[in-house]
Structures are given as structure tokens and as C-alpha cells.
């Protein structure tokens, strides 16, 4: 299906309701959908179950905690082991107001990929013998034990790419790829903010990072200024 263009990030979120499961692309500042996150804050959607690599670490996701919009997060980086700096999310976590499921980063991205690729799970040695393995099934393959990690799906993915064409093909830049191309496959509704929208045919077929089939909505906006952590 051809992607639908929206004028503003706020418009692009139409129909998103309380209790939604949202995947957020990005790794710290790279590939982070900063305008869509700010629009989600303005929208006031609550009870969000989020999935993101990081929260409170150069992303804007921690701002969603200001008005208690998050019910929980699946993340790889959420609460610093050291450093005195505390995020709102950490405070709410310690008060039992939000849930947190930590997933090792390679497992996290592979679970998303499995969710998008119709695979039943991920067999990995990562996490064995650690709290990550608690309560999970293990499978033996050729005499080696693997942890079975289950696929991740979302209702909505909020992503960021450098450019899109009007069909929905996405071109990424630099380390802006990270989780975005995988999350684009694993959500029912994929909304992408881009710095530029071009005509169909202007993105080199060799440079398409996410084929149009995965993209539902696009909106053009300059990234929100953020501070490096």
C-alpha cells in the first residue's frame, strides 16, 4: 500500500489510543523519532507499553514520564548501574508505577526481527545463567543449550529515517539505521518521520533501507534539538 503523507507529527498519530503497544526506533540520538515522541507527549496518550533500546539516555522518551504516560517498557538500557543521574523513569520504576523488562540488546533486536519475519522465537546463548533466563524455556540443539526468547510485536512503530519517497521507501543515514528497519516489519501501523520527502524514483533502489511495503504513514520535520548525554 502507498504510504499516506501527514502535515504534522501530531496529525500522523491519529487514531492512537490509550493502552497502545509502541516500538520506538533509535539508539540514543541516532534514528530517534524525536518529533513523533514530542507529539505523543502532547497527545497525552496513556497506558503506553513501550519498546525501545534506551530510555532516559539522550532520547526523549523519559519526557513521557512527566505525565505518567508509560505503563511499562521493554528496553536494553534503562537504569544506570553507576552514575548518580536518575531519570524520571527510574523514579517511577522504584515507586512501582511502571514496569521494566530488560532484554539484552542482541536478543531485543532479534525478537523484533522474529516478530516481523513470522518466526516463532529466538534461540540464543545470551542471557543463560543470568536473571534474563529466569522463567524461560531452554532448548537443546546438537548438544548445546539455548535460551528461547519470544517474538515482539507492536500496534504502532514510531520511526525515523533520513528520506522517504511518496511510496514509503525509506533511506537511512549513518548510525540512524539501528532498530528502525527491524521495527518497521514488526508493527501493525508504521509511522515514520523523515527530514525530507522526495518523489517516487528519487531514492536509488540500491539505497532503500526499508522497502515501501512496511511503511504506512510519513511526515516530514526537522529533528528536535537534543543534548548528547
Amino acid at each position: 500500500m502507498v504510504a499516506v503523507l501527514y502535515d504534522t507529527p501530531d496529525d500522523a498519530l491519529e487514531g492512537i489510543e490509550d493502552g497502545v503497544r509502541i516500538m520506538f526506533g533509535g539508539f540514543v540520538t541516532a534514528g530517534t523519532p524525536s518529533n513523533l515522541i514530542r507529539a505523543l507527549k502532547r497527545r497525552g496518550t496513556r497506558g503506553i507499553n513501550g519498546m525501545a533500546n534506551n530510555i532516559g539516555f539522550g532520547d526523549l522518551l523519559d519526557e513521557l514520564c512527566e505525565d505518567h504516560q508509560l505503563a511499562g517498557m521493554i528496553a536494553t538500557f534503562a537504569i544506570r548501574a553507576s552514575s548518580a543521574k536518575k531519570s524520571r523513569f527510574e523514579d517511577q520504576y522504584h515507586r512501582g508505577e511502571v514496569t521494566l523488562e530488560l532484554s539484552p540488546q542482541g536478543t531485543f533486536v532479534e525478537r523484533i526481527r522474529a516478530g516481523g519475519a513470522g518466526l516463532g522465537g529466538v534461540l540464543t546463548r545470551t542471557g543463560l545463567g543470568t536473571p534474563v533466563a529466569e522463567g524461560k524455556q531452554t532448548i537443546e540443539v546438537d548438544g548445546v543449550t539455548y535460551l528461547l526468547e519470544t517474538p515482539l510485536h507492536a500496534d504502532v512503530a514510531l520511526l525515523k529515517a533520513q528520506r522517504a519517497d511518496r511510496l514509503g521507501n525509506l533511506e537511512y543515514r549513518g548510525a540512524g539505521r539501528n532498530f528502525n528497519p527491524l521495527m518497521a516489519t514488526a508493527a501493525d501501523l508504521v509511522i515514520v518521520e523523515v527530514e525530507e520527502i522526495v518523489e517516487v524514483g528519487e531514492i536509488d533502489p540500491e539505497r532503500v533501507g526499508t522497502p515501501a511495503v512496511f511503511v504506512d504513514r510519513i511526515v516530514q520535520c526537522a529533528p528536535v534539538e537534543v543534548f548528547t548525554p
Binding site: F77, G106, L182
Partner: protein, 225 residues
């Protein structure tokens, strides 16, 4: 034990230099957040170590300190970086396929605790709760050789090298070498083996600062920095 019981040993920059000495031309190396990010500046000019950054870069250059910030060109710690010639970008699934699949020669991670069986704990302080493993668990499991770079003792003087970790593990039996401010210690099937001591630090001081049996290598010597 209080911190006054243990010598200062190396400052962080020299610890990073000692880690840098473990890297060889052509190696593919991933550096964890924190102290490990200091390593590249101690490599000789024109080195051919290829740095992998878990956020999707092979061929990471040095940290950019000219004030220009490109949000799409950062290392795993979120710092702006330069690219080395011959670099490439890829998504996180490819990045962790590279890591988990054994294509990274050396991973350098920070540590909270290392046990004499090679167990590493570096993602959670139980008193604080929550935690963040990022890519550390995959790196610990997948890298061909794991170097842990850390202070030998905590601020209150407790050893970070012990018989069994008390903190939640990052991975089991994964550590090959520990480089601290006091010593270079190999993790062998028999346990910790002391290879080198920091300048001005004695073998006895390292033994005293280590809460596990420590075999002293026959050719133990002072680090050459």
C-alpha cells in the same frame, strides 16, 4: 578493608593504554561504554584496528571533540565520532549477528565484579535495582576474547575480583583477561593468574586486593607502559 589499604596504581588513561597494548593490527574490536572508550587514543598513528560499534558501525574513528554534533554519527555511548576510512553502516540485527556470531576478535567491557571462573557482572548494582545490560551480554557471550577493564577495588576498598560474583551475571565463564589499575590477570581454567603488576605496586599488594586465590605467573613483571 578500606581504600587506604590498597595502592592507587594506574590512572585511568594508563589503564586504557595497557588495554590498547592487547590489540593487534587488523583485529576487529568492540569497546564498551565508559573506560573502554579511552582505548583508541592510545593506539599508534596509522593503526589498522577496526572498531565495531554495536549501534551499527564498523570502522569507528576517534571521538569528535570539535563541537560539531551529528546525531546520526555517534558511538554506543552517544558521543559524536569520526569515521575511519573503509567504514560501513548496518542495522542492529546485523551488528549483533556480527557480535554473537563470533566475528568480533576482542571485546573490552567495564566490570563491577569478575570471578575466578570467568563469570562477569557489570550491568546491575542490586542495591540500586533495575539495571542496563545494553549489548554487554551479547558481547560477553559472542566475542572471541573478552577483556574486562576496571578498578581493582571498589571505593570502599572491596575487591572486584572474587571467587564467585555476588551481583547478577552478565555471562558465565566469559572473561579471558582482567586489566585493572593494579594488575594484569589472566583467567585460566585453574583460576586467576597474575601476569603483570602496575609500576610501584607489589605482587603482595595485588594478592591483598584480590578476594580469590591468585596464582603468580613465573615470569610476573611490571607493566611496560
Amino acid at each position: 578493608m578500606t581504600s587506604h589499604a590498597h595502592p592507587e596504581g594506574l590512572p585511568r588513561e594508563l589503564l586504557a593504554l595497557r588495554v590498547a597494548q592487547e590489540l593487534r593490527a587488523g583485529m576487529v574490536v568492540n569497546l564498551g561504554i565508559g573506560l573502554p572508550t579511552l582505548v583508541p587514543s592510545h593506539l599508534p598513528e596509522g593503526h589498522s584496528v577496526l572498531f565495531q560499534s554495536e549501534n551499527g558501525i564498523l570502522g569507528l574513528g576517534g571521538i569528535r571533540e570539535d563541537g560539531i554534533f551529528d546525531r546520526e554519527l555517534i558511538n554506543a555511548g552517544g558521543q559524536p565520532v569520526f569515521l575511519a576510512t573503509g567504514a560501513s553502516f548496518f542495522d542492529s540485527a546485523t551488528s549483533f549477528g556480527m557480535i554473537r556470531g563470533g566475528h568480533v576478535d576482542v571485546s573490552v567491557l567495564g566490570g563491577l565484579q569478575v570471578a575466578s571462573n570467568g563469570d562477569l557482572a557489570n550491568w546491575m548494582v542490586p542495591e540500586r535495582g533495575g539495571g542496563s545490560m545494553g549489548g554487554a551480554m551479547d558481547l560477553a557471550v559472542g566475542a572471541r576474547r573478552l577483556i574486562v577493564a576496571m578498578e581493582h577495588v571498589t571505593r570502599d576498598g572491596t575487591s572486584r575480583l572474587m571467587e564467585r560474583c555476588t551481583y547478577p551475571l552478565t555471562a558465565q565463564a566469559c572473561t579471558n583477561l582482567v586489566v585493572t589499575n593494579l594488575a594484569v590477570i589472566a583467567v585460566e581454567p585453574s583460576g586467576f593468574v597474575l601476569l603483570e603488576v602496575a609500576p610501584g605496586v607489589t605482587v603482595e599488594q595485588v594478592i591483598a586486593a584480590t578476594n580469590a586465590p591468585l596464582t603468580v605467573a613465573p615470569d610476573v613483571h611490571e607493566m611496560v607502559l
